[in-house]
Structure formats: C-alpha cells, structure tokens
C-alpha cells in the first residue's frame, strides 16, 4: 500500500514538474543576432551570423540579422527587434553586455551575451564565453615547428577573455613544442577592432622584431595585419605567414595564410534555442571544442604534410584527454607567457 502511495506520489510529482516546465517553456519562433561589423568579415561577425542562420535552419525558426551596428548604444535596435517578435536576441559583441541585459529586463525577451559568465539570469540572460584555446594551442605547435627566425608574434586588437584564451593557448603550444622560440606580443589598442592602419603598423613592428609567423586576432583590423604581412619581408628576407582566427580567409588570401583557428558557433546557438524551449536557458555555460570540430584548424597549402600530421597527433591527445589544457582568460596570464626583455 505504502509502495503504491509512493509510486503515485512520484508520478504526481513528475507530472507536476512536466506541467511546470511546459508552462514556463518558451515557444521559439524567431531569433535575432546583432553584430557590430559586417557579417561578411571572414571572422567573428561572419561566424556569428552564419551560425545563427544555421542554428535557425536546424531548429526550424526564423532568423533576423542586424549587422554593422558599431560599438555604440544598441538599445533602440534591441527594442525594435523585440517588437518584431524575436524570441531570443544574441548580442554578439562584448560591448553590448550592459545594454542587452537591460533590454531583456525591460522587454522580457531573453538575450545571449558574450564573455560574461557571471551575468546569468535564468530564463532571461545567457552567456557564451567561447574559447578556441585548444585550436590556438595546435596553431602554436605548428608555428613553433615552422618558424625560421625562431620568433613568432601575437597581434590582437583588444583583450577580451576569449581572445586572451587563444593568445595564451598559442603561446603554450609554442613553448611546449620548442621553448627556445621567442614570442612577441602586441595589442593595437583598447578596442581597436576596426583599426586597420593600427593593425598594419603594429604587425610591421612585430615582424621587424623578428617574427616570421604572426598569430592575429582582430576583426576589421586583421585586414591591416594581413596587408603588413603581404608587404613586409621577415628579418631573414623570407616570407611572413599569418595565422588567423575564427573565420576562413582562404578565398581572399594571396599565399600568406598558414592556417586559421576556425570556430563554429552553430552548436552553441542551437543549444540556446533548445534550452529556451526546455526552460533551462540562462542556467549553464556553453562551449566549443576540438572533439565535435566546432573548433578546428584550417588546412592550407602552406602547411607541409609532416607538420600537419604532427599537429593532428597533438589534436588527438587533446581530444582523448591525454593532454589537458586549461584556458587562461585574463590578459595578465597571457603576458606571463610571452617572452620578456629580461630573457
């Protein structure tokens, strides 16, 4: 009798829980993504837009893209998108981290923001602090193996956590492969994401400091980096190679692209839509990684076959868990890994 009563109570509890979930779950009809620059930048903005479209297609919802919004106040755009019926607004820039949660509270429409793991609000605000540090580590292994001058460079147009993780991953990969390789590090500006001239200027200085392989992270400014690489010879007179991140610039490459740490954010956005429908939105973090190829290295003709094999062997160690790599998200941690004048 008692057993039956307990079974009944358990069933009742399960039904009540299910009922509550159904009652609170959100029917996702459309998602919106807001990006600061054009969604055709072969980088952060494009990967965000492409992934949002892919996730929407995979889950059967509509997608609204708002591109080239700049780094100013996006509150009016967020309100407009909320009025247009977006069930989820993805604010795809760290500069939007203040405005987006405010508008979520105001309109009740859930938002996803970046690089703010402490900002979660169940049902309303989710964060995706993504890191391609494992892919950057592989790029570091490749750079340390291929450098002729014994110096590699890192040039970034800002120091958001996800980029710090990649800078640190790259440096760790270099050091693990050849500790004698020097790593020079330079930031173009506090938020110099569109500073193409700065990208060119700083990259030229890094090349003059001896780097023959440059790991660059920089949205629009990365085209300035690329231009410096195409027009500035290395200190040994040879060619400088560029390692890009997030997107694939193969189609506009003039033979200087070594590889790219490619990101695919589709699984992240798909999981967000599912979490909204399951009422678990804003309760957990999202990740990308090597195991499901949401982070992978681009293979180009500049990579010798034996180097690619070596790098893929290290990839396998990371996927297996034989090699464990903790992401370093703070800028101080990155600076501790680069070569200082004292060395």
């Amino acid at each position: 009798m008692i057993k039956r009563l307990m079974q009944g109570a358990a069933l009742g509890l399960a039904l009540a829980t299910f009922g509550a979930v159904v009652a609170n779950a959100v029917q996702v009809n459309a998602i919106a993504i807001l990006v600061p620059e054009e969604g055709t930048d072969y980088g952060w903005n494009q990967q965000g837009v492409d992934a949002a479209v892919a996730a929407a297609n995979a889950t059967g919802v509509e997608v609204i893209t708002a591109e080239g919004l700049g780094y100013g106040d996006i509150r009016p755009t967020l309100r407009e998108l909320a009025e247009e019926g977006a069930s989820l607004m993805i604010a795809h820039a760290s500069g939007y981290n203040t405005a987006a949660p405010e508008i979520a509270q105001e309109t009740g429409v859930p938002v996803a923001i970046v690089d703010s793991p402490d900002a979660l609000v169940p049902g309303l605000v989710a964060d995706y602090t993504l890191s391609g540090h494992e892919g950057a580590y592989l790029a570091g292994v490749m750079a340390a193996t291929m450098t002729r001058t014994g110096t590699v460079g890192i040039v970034v147009s800002g120091e958001p956590p996800s980029w710090n993780a990649q800078s640190a991953g790259f440096a760790q990969g270099v050091q693990a492969t050849n500790p004698d390789v020097k790593i020079v590090y330079a930031v173009i500006g506090p938020a110099a994401y569109a500073d193409a001239a700065g990208g060119n200027r700083v990259t030229a200085a890094v090349i003059a400091a001896g780097a023959d392989i440059v790991f660059g992270q920089g949205n629009g400014s990365s085209f300035g980096m690329l231009q410096a690489i195409e027009t500035t010879p290395a200190t040994d007179g040879g060619k400088v190679l560029f390692i890009d991140v997030i997107g694939d610039k193969s189609s506009i490459d003039k033979g200087y692209l070594l590889t790219s740490v490619l990101w695919d954010m589709t699984p992240v956005y798909t999981a967000m839509i599912e979490d909204l429908e399951n009422d678990t939105f804003g309760t957990k973090s999202y990740a990308i990684g090597l195991a499901d190829d949401s982070v992978r290295l681009l293979q180009t003709d500049n990579i010798p076959a034996d180097v690619w094999e070596q790098v893929m062997a290290v990839r396998q160690e990371l996927v297996d868990g034989t090699l464990v790599l903790e992401p370093v998200f703070d800028a101080e941690g990155v600076r501790a890994l680069v070569t200082s004048v004292a060395e």
Partner: protein, 311 residues
C-alpha cells in the same frame, strides 16, 4: 633587449609613428584653418572617413595612387561643402551638424563598403616610396623618415607654408578677422560667409587627404569606421596649437611617437597592464594640454554663426 634594439625594429617603430602621425597632422592643419575663420568643424571625422573611402575606391579601381589622393580630397570637400552650406550658409549649430555629418558618413561608407568590398576585401600593394637622396642612407632615421610616400613630405612642407600664410599674407589676416571680429571684416567689404565657406572646404580637403593616407598608405585597405576618432584627435591638436601650425606638427609627432612607444613596450614584454601602456598617447597629449593649454586662446567668434546685421 638587444634583440629589440635592431635597426630594423627601430626603423619600423619610427616609420609607424610617421604613418600614425601624418593623418593627424593633415586633419589638425585643416581644422586649424576652419577654427581661425570661426567655424568649429566637428564633422572632420566624417570628412576623413569619406576621404578614406573615396581615396581607396579610386586608387583601387584606377590603379593610380595619386588619383586616389585627389579623390580623397574631393570626398572630404564634399562633406565639408554640406557642412558649409548648413553651418555657414544657414547658420545652423556647428556642433550638432558636425556630429550628424560624422554619423551619416559612417553609415554611408559602411553601406557602400558592404555592397562593394565586403566579400573580397581588396588590398593595395605596398605604397610607393620616394627616397630623399643623401638622407636615406642615414641609419634608422634614413629609411624611417626619408624613404616615405611623397604625401609625408608634402604634409611636413604644409607646416611652414601655412605659418607663412597666416602671419605674412592678407589672406591670413582675413581668415583671422573672420574668426575674431567678423563684423569688422564685413565692414571692410569682405564677405565673411565666403571666407568661412572656403576655410571649411580647405578643412575638408586636408581631412580627406588624411583619410586617404590612412586607407591607402597606412593600412592599404578601407574598413568601415577605420578612422576610429582620428578626426577628433585632430580637433584637439588644432585647439592645443593656438593657431600655430608648428604646434599641430609637434602634437601629431608626440601622439604618433607615443603610439609607437606603446608597441615597443609591449613587444619588449614589459609586464605591466596593456591598458596602462596604451594610455600613453592620450596621457602625452593631456600633459601637453595641462602644461600649455592654459595659454590657449581660441578665436573670439569660434562656433558663432555670423549673420549680417544681427546682434
């Protein structure tokens, strides 16, 4: 450390300072003329951006770098023309119009870039350099300062030229009068509006040229929003310079040099927060402002529209 003190690295730093300083110098010199004539040209950022866009577009499509600079000047002047019509002709608020024009040009150039270049991102080849015989062989400063694009030399030559114009010519006096006592100029039979109109157009030409330099020489590519506030720094330099072109040059050199210094400190692996290092250029300009800004004297009628007969 020794590895960093190579001729190649020091040359790159100096060349970087020049590349960063020249657009500011051109913008600052342009702004200075506008301010002398009594127009606070806040729209200079938009003029630079339009110059960058048109300069790159024409240089890329025609394959002719010089034509690109002409187009850059024309682009800056086109925006300046609108500013002059609204602020000088219609006597509208110079600050509001300036900000509005900048925002409008940011949107327009981003849109045009989207349709023209957003999938191809074309880049120009390395900029043409004109070595100065006898000086280019000097170690470090030779290749850094005397093996540059001709526009660099032109920008530096403009400094004494404008100083002479302001101090030694009737045109210079007319410009100053338009900014100090426009009514007196009017009584003397010179049309204040025409003087101010031409000064604003000159500002547009200089800002456009600076933008074209930034896109075609310093970056080799046009990217939306790429001027990143350089025009506003040009305004600060012009205000600090107290009407003297040589001071605009000093400000531009200090700012460009400090930018290169930040790169040097970072590449040296100095273990201090990057934000602190990157404050250097702005701190340097602020230090100059604190030291010398108190003596700054702006034209009495700066920012005030002139309407004949109005009190």
């Amino acid at each position: 450390m020794e590895a960093l003190l190579t001729a190649a690295f020091l040359t790159a730093l100096l060349a970087g300072a020049v590349a960063a300083g020249v657009p500011l110098l051109l913008a600052g010199l342009g702004e200075q003329m506008s301010e002398k004539a009594g127009v606070l040209n806040i729209g200079i950022e938009g003029m630079m951006l339009m110059g960058a866009y048109l300069g790159f577009l024409v240089a890329f499509e025609s394959g002719n770098g010089a034509l690109g600079f002409v187009a850059g000047m024309a682009g800056g002047m086109a925006v300046a023309f609108v500013m002059a019509i609204l602020c000088v002709g219609l006597a509208l608020n110079q600050i509001v119009i300036g900000i509005g024009l900048t925002l409008g040009v940011e949107g327009l150039t981003a849109l045009l870039h989207h349709f023209q270049f957003s999938t191809t991102y074309p880049r120009l080849p390395a900029a043409w350099r004109m070595p100065v015989p006898g000086l280019v062989e000097l170690p470090v400063i030779g290749p850094a300062l005397f093996d540059r694009h001709p526009l660099v030399y032109l920008a530096f030559l403009l400094v004494p030229l404008l100083a002479w114009l302001y101090r030694r010519t009737a045109l210079g006096l007319t410009l100053r009068a338009a900014g100090e006592k426009p009514a007196a100029l009017d009584v003397a039979g010179i049309d204040v509006a025409t003087v101010r109109f031409l000064a604003v157009l000159f500002t547009g030409a200089m800002a456009g040229l600076g933008g074209a330099f930034m896109a075609n020489v310093a970056a080799g590519i046009f990217i939306p929003f790429m001027t990143g506030g350089a025009g506003f720094i040009g305004i600060v330099l012009a205000m600090l310079a107290r009407g003297r072109p040589a001071w605009v040059l000093i400000g531009a050199v200090v700012f460009g040099g400090a930018l290169s210094l930040t790169t040097a400190l970072q590449v040296a692996g100095l273990n201090v927060p990057t934000d602190l290092i990157q404050m250097l250029p702005f701190a340097a300009v602020m230090a100059v402002l604190v030291l010398y800004g108190r003596k700054a004297r702006l034209p009495a009628a700066l920012g005030l529209p002139y309407v004949r007969g109005a009190r």
